[in-house]
């Protein structure tokens, strides 16, 4: 059971995190993101393409390419990964903060056995011999639910099924018991039946190891089933954040609600999915004022403010952590549909 969060330090703290990709036309992919991720909790970062969710993840672990300019701070284990020298960041990666990628087949080294990759990751942070590292690899494979790990440890990635590969990648990520695990669309490439198993594995690890899990996804169904906290991103910014109940039960941003209406629900009566007009904005083509205003059904009611004034995240009544950035709902609830 998670501790009340106010009593513990966040495992990962982002403050005013901003990512700009350089070049002749600099693009602000992430713009002033503040987030706290607490041990034993799952934070879902929700967004579509261009929302900046993946850039936020990579900036948090300090793995953006040199062409990206990162400002603000991303603090893990007392070290700010944005300003720290690479020599300070390297030992933290894998041991304090680790990452799981979307496409496990691409993210596992095709030339090395699964066991070698896990034990290599372990030996980067532990002074042990190969036998001990291999023993640890088998142990972790067993923990992530690979059957017959003693035998499978010598397999190559292409000999694993899609779901097993994702488990194997999770194994390389958790082999050093990190305090923060970032999972970037970890189940998007998987079949739905396998997706559920992998999500159960990730939340199980969060609970058992007391990790803080950052789950990056576009699927609100996945969020509802796994997350404790949510941050919805649009065009590089967080537009709504709060606990999963805050955001699903008291949705305060029109974009969040539009996403919910565009997500099919097999438990509800069949209906036509509501289409959001227009195209998702990104840092590259960010509209003025509120970035969502060209697609927002309430922008007309509010008037000029939506087109000119950038809304800030403001606290919502009834919950300490629920905040949204919307002119329309700043002083009212979203009307029922």
């Amino acid at each position: 059971m998670a501790e009340p969060r106010t009593s513990v330090e966040p495992a990962l703290r982002l403050r005013d995190l901003t990512v700009t990709f350089g070049g002749a036309h600099p693009v602000r992919a992430v713009d002033g993101v503040d987030l706290d991720v607490h041990p034993g909790r799952v934070l879902a970062i929700v967004g579509e393409s261009g929302s900046g969710k993946s850039a936020t993840a990579l900036a948090s672990i300090g793995l953006l390419p040199g062409s990206a300019e990162v400002t603000g701070s991303a603090t893990v284990a007392g070290v700010d990964l944005v300003t720290a020298a690479e020599s300070q960041r390297v030992p933290l990666r894998g041991s304090s903060i680790a990452m799981v990628f979307q496409d496990a087949l691409a993210a596992l080294n095709p030339y090395r056995t699964i066991g070698r990759q896990i034990s290599d990751a372990y030996r980067l942070h532990h002074r042990v011999d190969k036998t001990a590292a291999r023993k640890r690899a088998v142990e972790v494979l067993d923990r992530v639910g690979i059957r017959d790990p003693e035998r499978r440890v010598d397999d190559y990635p292409h000999e694993f099924s899609g779901g097993m590969r994702q488990r194997a990648m999770i194994a390389t990520a958790i082999v050093n018991n990190p305090t923060v695990l970032i999972a970037d669309e970890p189940t998007t490439a998987l079949d739905v039946t396998v997706q559920q198993q992998v999500l159960d594995l990730l939340t199980g690890l969060t609970d058992d190891l007391g990790m803080a899990l950052v789950l990056i996804t576009h699927d609100l169904g996945v969020v509802a089933e796994t997350a404790d906290d949510i941050a919805v991103m649009y065009a590089g910014r967080i537009v709504e954040t709060g606990t999963v109940l805050d955001v699903f039960d008291h949705t305060a941003h029109p974009y969040t609600r539009a996403l919910l209406q565009a997500t099919p629900n097999l438990d509800a009566p069949s209906r036509r999915l509501a289409a959001i007009p227009g195209v998702p904005a990104s840092g590259a083509n960010r509209p003025t004022g509120c970035a969502f205003h060209p697609r927002c059904p309430f922008a007309e009611q509010v008037g000029e403010a939506c087109q000119t004034v950038d809304p800030h995240l403001t606290p919502r009544p009834g919950s300490a952590l629920h905040r949204a950035a919307c002119h329309f709902t700043a002083e009212q609830e979203l009307p029922h549909v």
């Binding site: 672990i61 793995l63 690479e86 390297v90 030992p91 933290l92 990666r93 894998g94 041991s95 680790a98 990452m99 990628f101 496409d103 691409a106 993210a107 596992l108 080294n109 095709p110 030339y111 290599d120 990751a121 980067l124 942070h125 190559y156 292409h158 000999e159 990648m169 390389t172 990520a173 050093n176």
Partner: protein
């Protein structure tokens, strides 16, 4: 593995037979008649038919080819009685000019060509696998520019031109190395290497330039791949990640290397000519100019066989580098 090898070898034999047939047809249906060449200028008709009979060219083209293929496997004897010339298996043909089997001619020239080819191949590998990854690492820098520009220039430059330039500069002007001739390894290893340095460098630079280009591009592709990003996420340093990436660079380079080495072993015509070394390339060239068709067909086929075998070895080596190739 054994099953695959058997299949590939069988296929190779079929391909070689087909190639031999084409080569045979091509040269023997050509305008020059080897019997007439051997007969000399005042050529009596009965002597000509005698020679034809001796060579076996009095028979139809297909029978000639069958005789040739038979010779490959069991050897053959040209003519009869005291004049008869025996050509032991594998008989790649017979040079009536030099009264020797092509096999023994190739065999006698092979050490020279092999010395040039293997040394050149080693130099090219060192050049390509050093400069390519370095250029990738310092992408856009001075070294990268030099490698890209230089490789383009070298790939475009014919071996003989580079060879002549090298002789001019290092041989005549600077007087550092001998400009021609071959000293057998068994005679003096130092002289052997000393005489071969220029050809090695010429071939090594030309092929190595191509490898450097491939290695650079492959390395860049690889450095942008997810699995190396994932390796960094486990806490590997940038240096360690580059080391991991280098392995994948071997995949395209071994393919080129295998074919290049096979090609060179089949005769490095220009290099041998420029540096006056009498290897297989020189043998082929001599055969062409003296209309000695036995030599032309034999060396061409020998070269083709090397390429097929080289290809097979490349495929097997790739299986060891890349485990994905191993699975069905």
């Amino acid at each position: 593995m054994a099953w695959y090898l058997a299949r590939r070898l069988a296929a190779s034999v079929v391909v070689l037979l087909a190639i031999s047939f084409c080569v045979y047809l091509l040269f023997y249906s050509g305008p020059s008649d080897p019997a007439r060449v051997l007969c000399g200028k005042p050529c009596q008709p009965e002597r000509l038919s005698q020679i034809k009979q001796f060579m076996g060219t009095d028979k139809s083209a297909v029978v000639q080819w069958v005789d040739f293929v038979k010779g490959l496997f069991v050897g053959r004897t040209y003519g009869t009685g005291a004049e008869a010339a025996r050509c032991a298996a594998p008989c790649f043909g017979f040079s009536f000019d030099q009264r020797q089997s092509v096999t023994s001619l190739i065999w006698s020239r092979l050490p020279i060509t092999a010395s040039i080819a293997i040394g050149g191949a080693v130099v090219s590998l060192i050049v390509g696998m050093t400069l390519g990854p370095l250029a990738a690492r310092f992408r856009g820098g001075v070294l990268d520019g030099l490698v890209r520009g230089g490789s383009l220039l070298l790939v475009a430059m014919p071996a003989y031109l580079l060879g002549l330039l090298a002789i001019l500069v290092f041989g005549f002007q600077l007087n550092m190395v001998p400009v021609s001739g071959y000293v057998p390894l068994s005679e003096s290893p130092v002289d052997w290497a000393w005489h071969l340095i220029l050809p090695w460098c010429v071939l090594g630079l030309i092929n190595g330039a191509a490898y450097a280009r491939y290695a650079r591009n492959q390395m860049l592709d690889e450095l942008g791949s997810d699995y190396l990003l994932a390796e960094r996420a486990t806490g590997a340093s940038a240096r360690r990640v580059r080391r991991t990436a280098r392995r994948s660079v071997w995949v395209p380079v071994t393919t080129l290397f295998g074919i290049d080495l096979a090609l060179m072993l089949g005769g490095t015509i220009f290099t041998e000519k420029v540096f006056s070394m009498h290897g297989i390339g020189d043998l082929l060239l001599g055969g062409v100019s003296s209309h000695d068709l036995g030599i032309v067909v034999g060396t061409a086929l020998f070269g083709a066989a090397l390429i097929i075998v080289g290809n097979l070895i490349v495929d097997i080596v790739q299986g060891f580098i890349d485990p994905r190739v191993r699975r069905g």
